[in-house]
C-alpha cells in the first residue's frame, strides 16, 4: 500500500465520487442550443462558396476604401502642413519688412491710416512748407500754378486712399511703404518750388 492510500486525508479525498448525476436531464436544453449552430468546422464546410466569395469581395472593397482614405488623409495632412509653412513664411517676411522700416517710421512718427495724427514735427514742417508753397505758387504763371496744384491734389488724394486702405489692413507693409513714399513725394513737391524760387529752404528732417 503506498503512502497516499495510508494518509487518511488522501483516503478521504480519494473516496469522494468523481461523478455527480444532474437532478434534471440537461440534454434537452443543450440540444435546443446546439441544433441551431453546427460545429465550427462543419459550418465552414457548408458555407464554402458563396459567402466566402462575398466576404472576399467585401474585403477587397474594404481594402480599396481604406487605401483611398489613407491617400486622402495623407494628402490633406501634407496640404495643411505646406499651407501652414507658407503662411509662416509670409508672416516672417512681413515682420522682417516692418522691422526694416522701423527706423524710418521712428524718424518720422507719422501714424498711417485711420484718424491718428501725424507727428508734431512733421506737421509743423509740413505746415510751413505749405504756407511757403502757397505764397510762391501764387506768383507763378496760371498754367504752371494749375499743374503744380493738380499734382499736389493728386498726391494728397492718393495719400488719403492709401491711408484709408491701411486703416483696413494696418499690418500691411506694402501699404505702409506706399503711404510713406506718398508723403515724401508731397514734401518733395512742396520743397521743390521753394528750392527753385528762392535761395533759402525749409529744412525738413525726414
Amino acid at each position: 500500500m503506498n503512502q497516499r492510500l495510508r494518509d487518511p486525508l488522501d483516503r478521504a479525498l480519494g473516496s469522494l465520487p468523481t461523478e455527480v448525476a444532474p437532478e434534471k436531464d440537461l440534454w434537452a436544453q443543450i440540444e435546443a442550443q446546439i441544433s441551431a449552430s453546427p460545429p465550427i468546422h462543419q459550418r465552414e464546410h457548408r458555407v464554402d462558396v458563396v459567402p466566402r466569395r462575398h466576404f472576399n469581395v467585401s474585403s477587397r472593397w474594404l481594402q480599396m476604401a481604406a487605401a483611398v482614405l489613407l491617400i486622402a488623409g495623407s494628402s490633406f495632412t501634407t496640404w495643411v502642413i505646406v499651407q501652414r509653412s507658407a503662411n509662416e513664411r509670409v508672416m516672417r517676411a512681413q515682420q522682417f519688412t516692418v522691422q526694416q522700416m522701423q527706423p524710418v517710421l521712428n524718424a518720422m512718427p507719422a501714424s498711417f491710416g485711420g484718424a491718428d495724427a501725424l507727428g508734431a514735427d512733421y506737421q509743423k514742417a509740413r505746415a510751413a512748407l505749405c504756407d511757403e508753397f502757397d505764397r510762391r505758387v501764387a506768383k507763378l504763371p496760371p498754367v504752371t500754378r494749375a499743374r503744380l496744384e493738380r499734382d499736389l491734389a493728386d498726391l494728397r488724394r492718393a495719400a488719403n486712399h492709401v491711408a484709408a486702405t491701411l486703416g483696413q489692413h494696418p499690418g500691411d507693409p506694402l501699404l505702409q511703404q506706399l503711404l510713406l513714399s506718398t508723403y515724401q513725394s508731397e514734401l518733395a513737391l512742396l520743397g521743390s518750388l521753394n528750392d527753385v524760387s528762392t535761395p533759402e529752404t525749409v529744412g525738413v528732417d525726414l
Binding site: 478521504a12 479525498l13 448525476a21 440537461l26 453546427p38 465550427i40
Partner: protein
C-alpha cells in the same frame, strides 16, 4: 508472434473505449447530434462533479455544465486529440466556472446540500454499504463540507488535483496560474482540511 497478432486483433478495453470515443467525436464533428448526445451521457457526471465542487451551487454548476457541452459542440473542430477528450472537456468546464466567477463575484455562496443529496443518491443507487477499510457516507459528507469552506483558490486546486487526479502542470494551465502557486494552494488547502476534519499531520 501469434500472441502479437492476437493482441492486435483483440484490443484492450481502453483502446475500445478510445476508439468508440473517437468515432463518436468524428460523427459529432460532421453534425451528428445523436453521437454528441452519447458523448454527453458519457461525460456529464464528471463534468458536473467538477463544476459542483468548484462552485458548490447546484444551479450554477448545472448552468456551467450545460454551457460546457454547448461550447464543446461549437468547438469540436478545434479538438486535435493531443489530450484525452475528457481532459479537453474538463478544461472547458473549468473555464466556464472561472468565467461565471468573474462575472458574478469571486465568492459563491457555499451550498453542500446538492452534494449531500448526490452522495445519498449514489449510495441508494449502489444499494451497498461502504466496504470495510473505506470511509463511510458520513465522513464523505464531512469532507464535502470541509471542502466548501476552503478559500476559492485552494478549493479549485484541491478539487482538480486531489479528487480528479490532474498534475500540478495541468491544474496550473486550467486555472491560469503558475505551477508554484498551484503547489502552494494545494499545501494550504490540505493543511486547512486536516484542521477542519481533525486529522493530524500524517507521518509515514
Amino acid at each position: 508472434m501469434l500472441s502479437g497478432i492476437g493482441a492486435i486483433e483483440q484490443p484492450s478495453a481502453l483502446d475500445r473505449a478510445l476508439s468508440a470515443d473517437t468515432a463518436l467525436i468524428l460523427a459529432a464533428r460532421s453534425g451528428d447530434v445523436k453521437a454528441f448526445e452519447q458523448i454527453y451521457r458519457a461525460h456529464i457526471g464528471r463534468v458536473l462533479g467538477i463544476c459542483l465542487r468548484m462552485t458548490h451551487r447546484r444551479d450554477v454548476a448545472e448552468d456551467c455544465a450545460q454551457l460546457t457541452f454547448v461550447r464543446a459542440w461549437r468547438n469540436l473542430g478545434a479538438f486535435e486529440g493531443r489530450s484525452a477528450f475528457g481532459t479537453w472537456l474538463h478544461r472547458i468546464a473549468v473555464n466556464e466556472v472561472l468565467t461565471y466567477t468573474r462575472n458574478h463575484g469571486t465568492r459563491l455562496e457555499a451550498e453542500t446540500q446538492g452534494l449531500d443529496d448526490a452522495h445519498l443518491d449514489t449510495e441508494a443507487a449502489q444499494g451497498a454499504m461502504p466496504a470495510p477499510g473505506t470511509v463511510d457516507a458520513g465522513e464523505v459528507m464531512d469532507m464535502e463540507r470541509a471542502l466548501a469552506t476552503l478559500p476559492e483558490g485552494s478549493r479549485h486546486v484541491v478539487v482538480l488535483q486531489a479528487i480528479y487526479g490532474y498534475s500540478h502542470e495541468e491544474v496550473a494551465e486550467m486555472l491560469g496560474i503558475a505551477v508554484g502557486t498551484c503547489k502552494a494552494q494545494l499545501h494550504r488547502g490540505r493543511r486547512m482540511l486536516r484542521e477542519r476534519l481533525g486529522l493530524g499531520e500524517f507521518e509515514p
